[in-house]
């Protein structure tokens, strides 16, 4: 599997950092730290927002994550991308705070769902799509943290299995297993009549040749 491919939001988990950004940051260059922040803020914020579903909390976690990175900058490795480490810190920060904030997140769900609807579709299709998305949003929220992280890293960020496993500090087999159980749990949440494969996803016989 290609671990160097570009991923969502234009940041890849590349094994090397040719521009010496971390090195410059370690020497106390604040401009380098700003560049570091601008390079990695988007994927970190996205992870935090996907887990917490609270833009304010996500921003707080983003700031905490980078303040921590600055605090331990001397220990950051120069030969590998800091992104897996940053993602790991962000997910840990999310789950350490999410329990306290869970109660006030629910109203946001409706707001997000309304943004999703494809207005060009027929009204009944829009309603159906919203319903499924709503069910899945609740399903994602109810997944155990490790499965939720796996789903966000693999299906939302588009990290490879190896990259997602590195971030989650597990092996590839474990990551596969977490994804498998997450999908299984999500499938059981869908109402019976919604479990049929839609036209676009149905496998045709000629696709198999």
């Amino acid at each position: 599997m290609d671990t160097k491919r570009r991923i969502a939001h234009g940041v890849s988990v590349s094994p090397t950092q040719p521009d010496g950004l971390v090195e410059r940051m370690q020497s106390g260059d604040l401009d380098a730290f700003e560049e570091f922040f601008n390079r990695y803020k988007r994927p970190i914020y996205t992870t935090a927002l996907a887990i917490t579903r609270d833009p304010f909390l996500a921003e707080e976690i983003l700031q905490d994550c980078f303040v921590k990175a600055y605090r331990v900058r001397e220990r950051l490795r120069r030969d590998v991308s800091p992104l897996p480490w940053l993602q790991r810190v962000a997910t840990n920060l999310c789950y350490s705070r999410i329990a306290r904030r869970r109660a006030i997140m629910e109203p946001l769900s409706a707001l997000i769902t309304n943004l999703v609807a494809d207005l060009r579709a027929r009204p009944d299709e829009v309603a159906e799509s919203r319903e499924i998305i709503e069910v899945l949003q609740r399903g994602i929220d109810s997944l155990p943290p490790k499965q939720q992280t796996a789903v966000i890293l693999y299906y939302m960020h588009g990290y490879s299995l190896a990259e997602a496993a590195e971030i989650a500090e597990c092996n590839v087999g474990t990551m596969k297993s977490r994804l498998h159980y997450a999908l299984k749990a999500l499938r059981t949440r869908l109402p019976e009549e919604r479990r049929a494969a839609p036209e676009g996803a149905r496998l045709a016989r000629d696709e198999l040749r």
Partner: protein, 198 residues
């Protein structure tokens, strides 16, 4: 080829984007002839599509605010304030000494407490806080147990029994606080228990 085996194998390959190879041929043959398995694999694909949409719906249209960097910068700079020019070099060297000093201070207090004779068993529990600088601070008194419920005592015709006398000894429980400082909780040991310890 059973339905379970075929769909299990193919689900994994489709789900994780793995290439189909010669080993997949029997499974694919089964899929061509089995409507149920085609539905199962198609359903999985649909679920993944919908899941991706649901996940992106959580983050689409959101971005970190323009002030995010200012917040990070201020906090990072506040964290990284330079230490005192004169004594900064001494600090790393004395870290171990300060910790040892804190423990020694607690030990001295315990020994002195053991030598004193409180006698009446009325010594209140308290907590000693040893700071990282080797200072010993008496913290707030520990919350005491609620007073026992008063039952009407039967008449016995003599004076009421006295509370058990304290032994003058103390038990010390060492813990560490949230910021890593040493905490010592001191309790007087009643004389009757103290006798068992000898």
């Amino acid at each position: 080829m059973s339905c379970g085996k075929a769909s299990r194998e193919l689900l994994e390959r489709f789900r994780f984007g793995e290439e189909l190879d010669a080993r997949s041929a029997p499974h694919l043959d089964h899929l061509q002839s089995c409507q149920a398995c085609r539905e199962a694999v198609g359903l999985d694909r649909a679920l993944v599509m919908q899941l991706r949409r649901a996940l992106h719906a959580r983050v689409d249209g959101h971005a970190p605010s323009e002030h995010a960097w200012d917040g990070v910068r201020q906090r990072a700079l506040a964290d990284g304030k330079p230490r005192s020019r004169w004594f900064g070099w001494l600090r790393p060297a004395t870290t171990g000494l300060r910790a040892a000093g804190a423990v020694a201070a607690v030990a001295i207090v315990v020994v002195l407490g053991a030598q004193g004779d409180s006698g009446d068993g009325q010594v209140a529990d308290f907590q000693l806080r040893a700071t990282g600088r080797g200072e010993l601070v008496r913290a707030n008194a520990m919350p005491t147990d609620p007073p026992p419920r008063e039952e009407p005592a039967p008449y016995r015709g003599g004076p009421a029994p006295l509370p058990p006398p304290a032994s003058g000894r103390m038990s010390v429980i060492m813990t560490y606080g949230e910021t890593g400082e040493a905490l010592a909780t001191v309790h007087p040991i009643p004389r009757r228990i103290s006798g068992l310890l000898q």
